[in-house]
Amino acid sequence: MGKTLAEKILSVKSGSEAKSGDIVIAKVDLIFVQDTTGPLSVKQFQAAGFERLANSVKAVLFLDHAAPSPGHELSNDHMLLRDFARETSSFLYDVGEGVCHQIVAESLAKPGDLIVGADSHTVTAGGLGAFACGMGSTDVAVALGLGKTWFRAPESIKVALSGRFPDGVYAKDLVLHLIGRIGVDGATYKALEFSGDAISNISIPERLTVANMAVEAGAKVGLFPADEVTRDYLSTQGRKSHYQPLFPDDDAIYEQTINISLAELQPTVAKPHTVDNIALARELKGTKIHQVFIGTCTNGRLDDLAVAARILKRKKIHPETRLVIAPASRGVLMAAMGAGYIQTLLEAGAIILPPGCGPCLGLHQGVLGAGEACLSTANRNFKGRMGNPEAFIYLGSPATAAATALKGEITDPREVM
C-alpha cells in the first residue's frame, strides 16, 4: 500500500512501516529551542538527569523572540541558554541572527528530515519536505537526551493546487483562504500535504509561508514534496548535497482532498480574533489601521520585503499609520540592503527592527495601544497576541500590508500596484 509523505518519513526514521494511526518511536535529526521555551527545556533536561545530548542529535538554540532583550529577566534566560550551548557543545544563534524557523529553512533543514522544535511554527520546514513538528519544552528536553521521541503517524489531508497566482495574490492569501475553509481546527492531529500541478510554480519562500501556517489549522505538519524547486533553492543556499527528491506514492491514502485553483484567489485578510475569520481585502476597505507590521517566520523573507518595496517606492506611508518591519534573518536584511529595499522602505517612512520575531508575540517593539488596529503579515491574530487584549489584529500578505500602510486603511494591493 502506498504512503503519504508523512508516512514515508516516519517509516524511515522509525525503522518500521508507519501507517496513519500507528504510534512509532522515531529518531530525530534536528532539535531546536528558542529563548522563550528553551529555558524550561534546559531545566527539564537537567531535572530528568540527562548529562549530555544524545550522540546522534544536532541541537540548536535560538535567541530570537526577545532580541535584543527588553528586560533583565529575559537577559538572564539568554545567559542560561548560552551556558547550556557551551556545556553541551550545541549551536547557538545569538540575538540579531533572526527567527529560528527562517534560519532552519536557510541553513539546516533537509528533505526527509525529522525535526522537532520547541515552537509551534517548526512546521515551516515542511516547505522543504521535512517532517517538522512543534512540541513543548519537556518533549524537546527528552528528545535532546534520547535522540528520539514518539509520534502518532497522522492521517493526511491532500491540498491539490492548480494554476498560478494572479497579480497581487500570494502564498499568504492561499493559506488564509485554506484556513478560512477548513477552520482553525480543520486539520488537528493531521498532516496537510500539498500537491498538484501548481506546485512546480510555487517557490520555496512561498512554500515556507504556507507550511508555516499549517499549525493555524491545528496540523501536526504541513508538507510539500521535495522537487526541482527544492533542489535549486538548496543549491543557491550552498547546500546542494542536502537535496533528495521526495514524493508521496501515487496510491497513498488521504483522508480527504481539498482542491484549490490559485487563479480564483483574491487578496485575503483574517479579521480579529481568529485566523479562520477571513474576508477579502477589498471587503474591508475603510478599516482604519494604526500600525502595519511586516516580518515574522511567515512573511519576513526577501521576497516579502521586495513586494513591499515595490509598492512603496518613491511614496510615503499614511501619516497616521506606523510601518514596522523586522527582516526574518540577518541574511534577509543584508540581501534586502544589497537590493536597495531597505533604503526604499526607510524613505517611505518605515521603521526597520533588528532580525527576529519583533512585535509578533507582544513582548516588545511595537506593542499596540487600546483600541488600535494592526495589519500584520504574521500568522496569529488572537486577542492579546501583540501585547494588548484591547487591540485588534488583521493578517494579510506583504502586498496587502504595504498597500494598507500607504492608504492608512485596509487596501486591496491591486489598487496600488
Binding site: 529555558p39 519537556t138 513582548l363
Partner: protein, 164 residues
C-alpha cells in the same frame, strides 16, 4: 477521585489567552507567572480558582503557541483536570507530560460553577449540581502510561526511554 468546581470557557482558547506573550519575562519565575493564568480569557480566574477545580472548555482548547507554560500555570493554580470537547495537539502532549489530566468529553451540559467529581480509573465524570453522569474518551496508551507515572520526567526516570 477528583473533586472541584467547574470554570467554564468557550471554544478556541489559545495558549496566548492562557498565558499571554507579554508575560514572557516571567517564565523563569513561575509563581509570579501563575498569577496571570487565563488572564486574557477570564481576568478574574486566577483570583477565584481553588485547588481541585476544573477547567471546562469547548473545542480546540490550547491552540496556538507551543508554550508549555500554559498547562504549567494551570497546574500550578491547582486545577485537577481539563475537560474539553477537543484539545490542540501540542497542548495535549504538554499537559500529559506535566501530569495534568486532559479529559475529552461533551461539555455543553456542564455549567460554570457546577460541582464535579471525576474518577480517572473509571473514565467517569459526575456533575453533582445537575445530576448528570458521563464518560470521557480513551487517550492513547502511551499517554496514559505517562500520565500514570505523573508526567514525562518520572516516566523517563523509571523506564529510561519510551516504551510502546
Amino acid at each position: 477521585m477528583l473533586k472541584g468546581r467547574a470554570f467554564k470557557f468557550g471554544d478556541n482558547i489559545a495558549t496566548d489567552h492562557i498565558i499571554p506573550g507579554r508575560f514572557a519575562h516571567l517564565r523563569s519565575n513561575l509563581s509570579e507567572l501563575a498569577k496571570h493564568v487565563m488572564e486574557d480569557a477570564a481576568p478574574t480566574f486566577a483570583a477565584r480558582v481553588k485547588p481541585g477545580d476544573f477547567v471546562v472548555a469547548g473545542t480546540n482548547f490550547g491552540l496556538g503557541s507551543s508554550r508549555e507554560h500554559a498547562p504549567l500555570v494551570i497546574k500550578i493554580a491547582g486545577v485537577s483536570a481539563i475537560l474539553a470537547k477537543s484539545v490542540a495537539r501540542i497542548f495535549f502532549r504538554n499537559a500529559i507530560n506535566l501530569g495534568l489530566p486532559v479529559l475529552l468529553c461533551e461539555t455543553d451540559s456542564i455549567n460554570d460553577g457546577d460541582e464535579l467529581e471525576v474518577d480517572l480509573k473509571a473514565s467517569t465524570i459526575w456533575d453533582m449540581t445537575n445530576g448528570n453522569q458521563f464518560t470521557f474518551s480513551k487517550i492513547p496508551e502511551i499517554m496514559l502510561r505517562i500520565l500514570d507515572e505523573g508526567g514525562l520526567l518520572p516516566y523517563i526516570q523509571k523506564y529510561g526511554s519510551f516504551k510502546l
